[in-house]
Amino acid sequence: EDIKLGISLGFTGPLESMAPAMQQGAEMAMREISESGLLLDGSTVTAVTGDSTCIDAAAATATVERLIASENVRGIIGGMCSGETIASLENVAKANGIVMISPSATSPALTDIEDDGLFFRTAPSDARQGEVMAEIVQERGINSVAVTYTNNDYGKGLADAFAASFGERGGSVTVNAAHDDGKADYSAEVAALAAAGGEALVVVGYVDQGGSGVVRAALDTGAFETFVFPDGMVGAALETNFGTEIDGSFGQNPAGEGEGRDTFLSMAEEAGFDGSGAFSGEAYDAAALMLLAMAKAGSSDPAVYKDHVMDVANGPGEEILPGQLARALEIINEGGDVDYQGATAVELVGPGESAGTFREIQFTDGKIEVVGYR
């Protein structure tokens, strides 16, 4: 059998710079399994990609619809951004009974969504990121911040999680205001943020989009000097856009550490892409998990293998790192148990999402510097 898997990521749109590394991560896992010849009596795996645009929910559903209806895929790696993921899950994947594993959708809303057991993610919920961010901000001795978020599921979810957690710790959020992506001018938004004041500005936005615009306007008018960046902003684009202007700003994004990650990075280098790109490892893990679950279920029918994802992701069983997928298939084919670890130390909790580790970063001399993991 030739098993087709759909990859639905935002190849255009506000995070287009992140998407290619994610796609290659996922395809690497598929190749690895395909070449082993051990999946379901020597089935091969082919990737079919679709553009989810990240922000346009209607376009994303249409893409996933096409992947399922015309391409007949057996599962979807995606979506990329939370809003789009929710839409395609509820309208297409559920209606057709297809499994989706997202590498990067982080909205808390996805935690308790009714998914008929079809949805998993290898990224942690922003409920957790909000806590981590609040912790980091507070540890740096900042007690009052203004928050601006990109006006969508991700932005609002994370901003709210942060505000709640920050408030519990005794910090104060002077204003929690949305900005829309895709505008030319954010001086009005920044004027409002400046009027409210605060020691730092938390920018829950997208780096290729409004997020950078807000930072630019805030720097120009002298409204803020220190910024806090969560995952949507931590990208190389920040360095090129602002350089030393934002020295002293800091942030965090989900990223595992340890052996699995190192292996993945070197594998990626061999394959010719940058494995340290945000959510690339998560994408590798998502594809691997889906295929291992098929092996475990002995079927590529989503209705069957969906119940086996948690089995392969968590213990008991032998720990599997990147590059060991053939080994995992052997174990499974022999009827054994595996505990997939992958590039990001996968441990699925609750209804199938990553527990999550985060790395803390900081800007020094115009460069992103990793200062630790939590």
Binding site: T12, N151, V175, A177, A178, H179, D180, G182, K183, A184, D185, S187, A188, E189, A191, A192, A194, A195, A196, G197, D208, G213, D220, T221, G222
Partner: protein, 337 residues
């Protein structure tokens, strides 16, 4: 001191941005109004042509930069402006030749020209994206500030800072020069008067020996100049992304109509009116009030903002309706009655 601080906050967050924005709108509205007055239709392709012209400016700027040519501290884009205007003028003249002239010749109802301009809008929209893509481009390479926050604070010792970006200064100055030149041209020169005559009465202009095609060509060239100028200044000051140029079409039309369509004076007044009210209505006045009237406590969380920033552009529309209710022909009497 406090009053001064209040004034600085006001200047920094309200006056300067609004003045720059107003100048950009005014230039755009001048173009719209010119085409409306003389060619008799609202050009829906205006925004996208602005984007196209700006894209050319950007490409030329990159070229110049690659050659190492610059006019520091002014942005290189200014150098690129002249050839870009020429190229854009060629493009709009070609468009006129291919599209509009046919209908003019047929004496088709103006609404057909509007429809055709929608078609041109689509094409221009695609062309711009073909040329430069959909992404944001920054091409401002001159000195960033005439005065920045830190210097200002050090100079004056005030707590509040004031930033005046060079692009903002440039926008206002260039816009004013352009407007004065245009007025002089329309009211004093033979060609300008011929344009006004054609606008008033096409046939009679012809019977007076005015070559209508020359007037049309002149109009497109001037309009192209205004478009590229407005688009470049907007892009320098904010950021260039093709879609944004479609979006400012609404405030530009609003400005032109509020001022009185077909009336250049009105376009300018309209541009500034729209810009200042947009900014003022969505600005949280709490800081200014805090300085000017320290005894007044609006209460925590009250930013004294009339309308959320997300409704910023709704303001231009509301102003439009209100003005039209009281002055049905716009602030200055347009051609519309």
């Amino acid at each position: 001191m406090d009053i001064l601080n209040g004034l600085v906050v006001f200047l920094n967050f309200v006056f300067i941005p609004a003045a720059a924005y107003g100048a950009q709108l005014a230039l755009g509205a001048l173009g719209v109004t010119l085409i409306y007055g003389i060619l008799r239709f609202s050009n829906f392709a205006h925004g996208d042509t602005m984007a196209f012209g700006t894209a050319i400016v950007i490409l030329l700027t990159w070229g110049l930069q690659a050659l190492g040519i610059s006019i520091q501290p002014l942005p290189t884009a200014l150098l690129a402006l002249v050839p870009a205007i020429a190229l854009t003028a060629l493009l709009v003249l070609a468009t006129d030749r291919l599209v509009y002239r046919f209908y003019r010749r047929q004496k088709a109802a103006p609404i057909i020209l509007v429809m055709a301009s929608v078609g041109v809008m689509f094409v221009m929209n695609g062309l711009t994206r073909l040329l430069i893509g959909v992404n944001e481009q920054r091409f401002d390479d001159g000195a960033r500030f005439i005065i920045d926050v830190r210097t200002f604070r050090e100079m004056t010792g005030l707590t509040e800072g004031l930033a005046l970006r060079s692009t903002q200064g440039l926008t206002v100055i260039l816009a004013f020069i352009t407007m004065i030149a245009l007025f002089w041209f329309l009211n004093r020169t033979r060609s300008g008067k011929a344009m006004r005559a054609y606008s008033d009465n096409e046939d009679l202009a012809l019977l007076s020996g005015i070559d209508p095609e020359r007037v049309v060509r002149l109009t497109w060239i001037i309009a192209a100049g205004l478009m590229v100028m407005a688009g470049t200044l907007y892009g320098l000051d904010k950021a260039f992304r093709p879609f944004n140029y479609f979006q400012i079409l609404l405030p530009i039309f609003a400005a032109a109509i509020v001022g009185g369509l077909g009336n250049p004076m009105g376009a300018i007044a309209g541009g500034f009116l729209v810009a200042f009210s947009e900014v003022a209505v969505t600005y949280p006045w709490v800081r200014v009030v805090g300085y000017v009237a320290p005894w007044y406590d609006p209460g925590p969380g009250n930013l004294m903002q009339l309308l959320g920033t997300e409704y910023k552009f709704a303001v231009s529309f509301v102003i439009l309706i209100v003005v039209l209710l009281f002055r049905p022909t716009g602030l200055f009497r347009g051609k519309s009655v």
